[in-house]
Subunit: 414 residues, 2 copies
C-alpha cells in the first residue's frame, strides 16, 4: 500500500476528550476514528490489525473443533427472561430498542442465552454432543463511563465460544484444551510471556473462573503472582484461591494487569434454567454442561498498544502489525523504490510504501508512530552504494545492508 493512497493522515494531536493512551495513539496514527466515548470506527489500517488478531484466534479455535457462525445483534426479550437477565437491575449494560409495534428488543451485550436457545434446536441426543461454536461479534454494552479507549468500549468486537457437553468430565477436559489454545493465541499475538492464566471469581456453579491477564500499566486489574509466575490470582479471590492452592498469600506480589480473556464453566446451571436437555443413552432427559470462552478482539489490540508503545508511538508485534515493512524514500529514488516494493510484495511481505514528497523527518516520525516493525530507507546515495538503510522499530540504530542481507533479515523475522 502506498502512503499517498491512504486516506488517513497522521496527526500530532488526539481529540481533547480522549484520555486513554491506546486511543490517543491509534487516533493520531490513523487506525481508529472516534465516533463518541467508547465507540470507534476502524480505518483500513486499523481493520488490518483487527483481522490479523481475528485470524490467529480463528485458526486456534478451529484447531480445537470450534465451528464459526454469526448470531444477531437484535435479541428477543423472552430469550433473557428465562434466566432473569432482561431487567436492567440484573444487567446494567443493556442497550434496548423497540419494533414499530412497541415490542421491546435487546441489543446483544452477550450471546450466552441466545446461543443456547439456538443449540436447543439441534442438540437432542447424547450422540449430538459435544458441540463447540464460536463467533466474532459486535457487542454493545451501555457502560456508564467509557474512558479506556478501545480497551473497554460501548461497541466492540469479541470472539465468544461456547462448548456443550454431556458430562462434567468431558466439559472439564475440553476446558483444559481451550486453555492451551488460548495460550497459543497470546503467544502468537506477541504477549505470551507476560500473559497469565489467573484464578478469578466464579459463579454459582464453580468457585473460580479463569482469566487471561497481561501485565500492563494501563490495566484495570490487580493480580497477585508468585516469583516464578506459576501462580496468578485476581485480587478479588486472593484469599480463597491462595487457600485452595495451598500457597502462602505473602509469597504473591501485586502487579497491574489487563484482562485479555475470560473462560467460565456454567455447569448445568444455564441449561437447567433454560430447560435445555439431551436424551442420554438410557433415554433419560439430562441437562447440558456448558462452558464459555471469550477474547475481546478490540481489547487485545488496545492492550498491545498500551503495553509496547514508546515515546515515539505504537510498536506492533510482527504477527499483528498491519504491514511488516515501512519503505520510505528520501529524494528522487521512486524508480528503485518501486522495484523494491514490487519485489517485497511478490514475496508476500506486506509493505507500507511512503512514496510521498515529504521531509525525511516526517517520514521517520510516521514510521515510528504507526509502529511498523521494519523500516527500509532508500536515498540517491544509498542507491549509488547499492545498499539499503534498515532499522527495526524497537531499535534506535539503523544499519546499511546489502539486498541479500536485507531479505535475509526480513525472512528471519517472520
Amino acid at each position: 500500500m502506498r502512503v499517498s493512497k491512504l486516506f488517513t493522515r497522521t496527526s500530532k494531536t488526539a481529540p481533547a476528550d480522549e484520555v486513554a493512551k491506546n486511543a490517543q495513539l491509534l487516533i493520531r496514527a490513523g487506525y481508529v476514528y472516534k465516533v463518541m466515548a467508547g465507540v470507534y470506527a476502524y480505518t483500513p489500517l486499523g481493520l488490518r490489525v483487527l483481522e490479523k488478531i481475528k485470524q490467529i484466534v480463528r485458526e486456534e479455535m478451529n484447531a480445537v473443533s470450534g465451528q464459526e457462525l454469526i448470531m444477531t445483534n437484535l435479541q428477543r426479550k423472552d430469550t433473557w427472561e428465562v434466566t432473569d437477565r432482561w431487567s436492567e437491575d440484573k444487567v446494567d449494560v443493556w442497550f434496548k430498542t423497540k419494533l414499530q409495534d412497541d415490542t421491546e428488543l435487546g441489543l446483544a451485550w452477550s450471546h450466552e442465552e441466545a446461543i443456547m436457545e439456538m443449540m436447543q434446536q439441534y442438540v437432542k441426543s447424547y450422540k449430538d454432543l459435544p458441540q463447540v461454536v464460536y463467533q466474532f461479534q459486535t457487542k454493545l454494552r451501555n457502560e456508564l463511563r467509557s474512558k479506556s479507549g478501545i480497551m473497554r468500549g460501548r461497541e466492540f468486537v469479541m470472539k465468544d465460544m461456547y462448548s456443550l457437553h454431556a458430562s462434567e468430565a468431558d466439559c472439564d477436559q475440553y476446558y483444559d484444551t481451550v486453555i492451551e489454545a488460548y495460550k497459543r493465541c497470546y503467544e502468537r499475538f506477541g504477549i505470551g510471556d507476560s500473559t497469565f492464566v489467573t484464578f478469578a471469581s466464579g459463579g454459582s456453579f464453580t468457585k473460580f473462573s479463569h482469566e487471561f491477564q497481561t501485565l500492563c500499566d494501563a490495566g484495570e486489574d490487580v493480580l497477585y503472582v508468585n516469583e516464578d509466575h506459576s501462580v496468578a490470582v485476581n485480587e478479588e479471590v486472593l484469599d480463597e484461591a491462595a487457600n485452595e492452592l495451598g500457597v502462602d498469600k505473602a509469597s504473591l506480589k501485586p502487579v497491574t494487569s489487563a484482562e485479555v480473556g475470560n473462560i467460565f464453566k456454567f455447569g448445568t446451571e444455564k441449561s437447567e434454567k433454560m430447560k435445555i436437555f439431551y436424551t442420554d443413552n438410557d433415554g433419560k432427559q439430562q441437562p447440558i454442561y456448558l462452558a464459555s470462552y471469550g477474547i475481546g478482539i478490540t481489547r487485545v489490540m488496545g492492550v498491545i498498544v498500551e503495553k509496547f508503545a514508546d515515546e515515539s508511538g505504537i510498536v506492533w508485534p510482527e504477527a499483528v502489525a498491519p504491514y511488516q515493512v515501512y519503505l520510505a524514500t528520501i529524494g528522487d529514488v521512486a524508480e528503485q523504490a518501486d522495484v523494491l516494493y514490487d519485489e517485497l510484495t511478490s514475496k508476500g511481505i506486506e509493505v507500507l510504501y511512503d512514496d510521498r514528497d515529504a521531509r525525511p523527518g516526517e517520514k521517520f516520525a510516521d514510521a515510528d508512530l504507526l509502529g511498523i516493525p521494519h523500516r527500509i530507507v532508500l536515498s540517491p546515495k544509498l542507491v549509488e552504494q547499492g545498499s539499503f538503510e534498515y532499522k527495526k522499530r524497537t531499535e534506535s540504530e539503523s544499519n546499511s545492508l546489502t539486498k541479500d542481507e536485507l531479505f535475509a533479515t526480513l525472512s528471519a523475522a517472520e
Copy 2:
C-alpha cells in the same frame, strides 16, 4: 467437513410463521436460524456462503481502489440532524436507543452521513481526492413488516461503498467504473445473465439512480425490459426513463425482479448540507462530489436461493456454494471414502463428507436440499468396480466415472 460433525440438522419442515421460500429452505437445510421475523443467525454453513459472496465483492471493490474499513452501529444524533434525517418522520426505519445519561443514539440503518463526517477529518485539499471507502456492515432497519426472509431483513449485512471526488466529471467516470465492477460481481455470483442495470428513481441531484435487478419470481419489483435486454427500467420511472432514452414505452415488457444492488450520485447535495468542503487548486472552498454503492450481501444470498431452488431444495452456483462436493457413502466404504476425501481436500476442493450411518435416500435428499453442486457416491459395489457415482445438482441422472474422469469433471467445473 464431515456431516457427522455439523451441529445443524436438515429438517422436513420450516417454522410455521416463515412465509418466504428462501428462509424456509435455508432454515430446513440448516443455513440460517430464525431469531424473529427479519432477524436470522447464520450457522457455519450459512456463514460460508456469506463469506464467499463477501470475498467476491471485496476483490472487485479492491480492484477499483476501494479501501475497506468498518464503521460503527451506534451513531450520534447530531450526525443525522445536519441533514434532517434523525426524525422518524423522515426516516421510518430507525432503531434508537439511549446511553445511561439519556443521550439518544441511533442504530445504523445507513452510514452515509457517518462516513462523510469521518472523511471530513481527512480530506482537506484537492490533493486528497478522489477517495473510495467501503465496508461490510450489519445494518439494522426497523421495517414495519418483514416477510421476505433474508431478502429484506431487519438485521442484514450490506456492502456499502462511498466515493468522494473533486469534480462531477471525475465522479461520473468513477461511477461508470463501479457499474462494470458490479457486473463482474453478479457474473461471479452466477446471476450475471439475468441481472440488469436499471434506471431507478433519483433524488434532488440526479434524475435517476441505478439499480441492479435480477429476474426472480419472488422479487418485489417490476422491471420493464426491451427484447434484447439492452434497456431495463424500473416501473416507477418508466415514463421519464423511456422519454430520456428515446425508446418506445410499448417495446418494454414487464418482468418480476429483485433488487440486488443500488448505486446513487449525490452530487454535492450531501456535502453542502454537511458543510464538507475541500480546498481547490486556487485555495477556494469547494463542496465534495459523492456517490454511494450498495450491495445487500444477505439479500443476494436470498435471491440466489429463490431464483435457482427446485422442488428438492437449494441449488447453489459453484462460486457461492459452501462446499463444491457432497461425498456420500453407502454401506461400509469408510476407508475408501476417507482416502478420496483427503485427496479432494488436498487439491483445494471443498467437500462436505456425509459419513453418517444413514439410508442412501436420506443422504441423497440432504445433498439436494443443501444444494451442493457436485455429488459423489461410494458403495462397496462401486469400490469393487473402481468407479465413482457422480451427479450434478442440476441434473437428474448420475454417471459412473473413473477416478481420472471424476477429477477432470471437477476441475473443469471450477
